[in-house]
Amino acid sequence: MENQDISQTTNEKIFVEQKLAVESIRTFLNSKTSYDVLPVSYRLIVMDTALLVKKSLNVLLQNNIVSAPLWDSQTSKFAGLLTSSDFINVIQYYFSNPDKFELVDKLQLNGLKDIERIIGVEPLDTASIHPSRPLFEACLKMMGSRSRRIPLIDQDEETHREIVVSVLTQYRILKFVALNCRETNFLKRPIGELGIITENDVKRCQMTTPVIDAIQLLSSNGIASIPIVDDNGVLLNVYEAIDVLGLIKGGIYNDLSLSVGEALMRRSDDFEGVYTCTKNDKLSTIMDNIRKARVHRFIVVDDAGKLTGVLSLDDILRYILLGEK
């Protein structure tokens, strides 16, 4: 009876501590602007919209980045973000119109909008925010976007033209929080309790699934990864949207008959690996991992290693900003 009381009070303590910690992180994000968190000196890679899509892929791969802001030199305006979803769109277009190889080969970045329209996906968001707005606001706007990132756009004081200042990503924000907010140590409630894990209807595929099916799953569900499981539902690997970049490296769009397993062989050697967690893990542990490694999602498994859900950075950020679902 007494033991129960003690565990009861510890639980309450943990509950209160987590609540206060989250509130404190929110206050912190509100007190800083996007500008504040930029390094003193940093680089930003921008692409002209007249660049060929296949060239843009090379630029991304060469610079080891997965996204870049676009610049329309005709209008001197920011023209949206190039992300892996654009390449997925091109793949899907080419898959359904294999006779249009000529068009795909000569496609410029400003032609991506036409592709979107033809295959009937939602146009990519062109949301942006001013660097001097609070970080909290930038995060909120980022959550509403499909690209999971938000460009920082300012105006030149003299010419009044747009300036692409930088691009914030969910990972960057969460790593920033993990590194600089001591409060993350107090996030000790099991993540299973918080209702932030996506558990229902988790899309999955197998090693033998054709990669084009996996790509279609990514696109139609607006997700960034698909766990790969064996016949028993045990997690084997993950197919990520950014793996698509490696798949079509060199402009080869006709390898789409590959299986997911074969497609994974094209992954670069510095692949971070798949991070897993269980429902009983705490958010403090999760944040610790985000601080140490470039993690973009945690696959939730049970004790037997079977896939039970996915915890994306979006889910974590949403919890920190808005609380439980």
């Binding site: 390094p39 692409v164 490694a293």
Partner: protein, 423 residues
């Protein structure tokens, strides 16, 4: 493939930067001859520059005599608060005097360094390109005009009883204690003398790592949130109208350059009584000092800061080495022989670019990234302000042009890289 990628990062180079860089990274044993040849070159050239420098030095030397010890030397301030996180606690002396004497070897090096800088100009900087980290650390003091130090008041006003500051200016090793502001016990501060450049720092308040909300903030290369300050050198004041601060600065400069007044003469001439260990650079400089003064061909060595030196006068005569092709050829041939490496007649070719433009921070990006692939915020070293607003370009590959420019965005530097098709 790796190589190709690296080349793609190398902006500004068109073709020759690689060669230029390799010429910058000459092995150390060549540095002697390099420096030497430069000091020779100044036989003719230095006349125009040196007298002014001399005036400055002489003047500051005299102020040093009146040094009343009131001035707080940087880092040595509040010595009792400095806790050395390293194990080299031999410096943990109670008086700042003995503290500065233990630092003498380093200062000596700086003295000689500076002399070498003046003599050979940008090429010393070129030598340093070997190690970008080191370059980065030194650039803050070297890029500036000599050894000017700027007094900076660092204030902590967010509570706490015991506060320290640590930062790039102490290599993030030492913690400098803050003291309450007179009359305002809740506000802690410390006055530091910092070289011009960007300094990053954080506070340790009651054993907790903090940053100030009242100072500019940024994330460093590891993603840590830090405060930073850009210290700007004060405009050179006329000799007479100096403010007390500036005079103090200058006094401190002299201390920074090492050496109490009476030691100066012995320092410029190597003597047997010299006990402090010398750095490689100092050794080279002293070796040069020991060479015979007569270099042959009518040239004698230029002596920097020799007390017995005859006073220099301005002249309108152009030295023969610049007017007589035969003398010039002989001069360069001698240089070539002395240098004794692969670049024959490299002295005759003017540099492709001003040396400071060759050190492009983007070129150091790929190596930085190799060390930590977590560097996803794209943090770069802080650029030297002279390279701002220059357009850099890579060689055109596959019909794609890549240009870059470093611009100020408010108090920060954005390096924008634009890929565009060639039309």
């Amino acid at each position: 493939m790796e190589d190709m990628e690296n080349k793609d990062h190398s902006m500004l180079d068109v073709n020759d930067a690689a060669d230029e860089q390799s010429s910058g990274t000459v092995p150390n044993n060549n540095t002697a001859s390099l420096t030497k040849s430069f000091s020779e070159m100044n036989v003719d050239e230095a006349n125009e520059i040196e007298p002014q420098l001399m005036v400055g030095r002489q003047r500051s030397r005299s102020t040093l005599i009146f040094d009343d010890e009131d001035e707080i030397p940087p880092y040595a301030d509040h010595h009792e608060h400095i806790s050395d996180s390293d194990n080299e606690s031999t410096v943990s002396s109670s008086t700042s005097e003995s503290g500065s004497s233990t630092m003498d070897p380093a200062k000596d090096e700086q003295l000689v360094d500076q002399a070498a800088m003046e003599v050979s100009g940008g090429n010393v900087a070129n030598d340093r390109m070997v190690d970008p980290q080191q370059q980065q650390q030194q650039s803050s003091s070297k890029q500036s005009s000599g050894n000017v130090m700027v007094p900076v008041d660092i204030i902590w006003q967010q509570g706490g009883t015991k506060a320290y500051v640590t930062g790039s200016f102490t290599g993030w090793r030492k913690m400098i204690g803050l003291v309450p502001l007179p009359g305002k016990p809740s506000v802690l501060h410390v006055k530091l003398q910092l070289p011009p450049g960007t300094h990053k720092f954080r506070f340790i308040v009651d054993n907790e790592l903090r940053f100030s909300d009242y100072l500019p903030t940024a994330t460093d290369q590891m993603g840590n949130f830090v405060n930073y300050l850009e210290v700007v050198a004060p405009p050179a004041a006329p000799q007479l109208g100096q403010t007390q601060n500036e005079i103090n600065d200058q006094q401190w400069n002299d201390e920074q350059m090492g050496l109490p007044a009476q030691d100066r003469d012995t320092a410029t001439y190597p003597s047997a009584t010299r006990k402090t260990p010398m750095s490689a650079r100092s050794r080279i400089a002293f070796e040069i000092e020991q060479e015979p003064d007569d270099m042959g061909g009518g040239y004698t060595r230029f002596h920097d800061e020799t007390p017995s030196k005859p006073s220099l006068v301005f002249t309108r005569d152009i030295p023969a080495v610049f007017t007589d092709p035969a003398v010039m050829e002989q001069y360069y041939l001698t240089l070539d022989q002395q240098q004794n490496n692969h670049q024959n007649m490299a002295w005759l070719t003017p540099p492709q670019l001003p040396p400071h433009l060759e050190n492009v921070i983007l070129n150091s990006y790929s190596s930085l990234q190799g060390e930590s692939n977590e560097n996803n915020s794209g943090a770069l070293p802080i650029p030297n302000h002279v390279i701002l607003n220059h357009l850099a370009t890579s060689s055109i590959k596959h019909n794609t042009l890549c240009v870059a420019s470093i611009v100020r965005y408010k108090q920060k530097y954005a390096t924008q890289i634009l890929y565009a098709p060639l039309q």
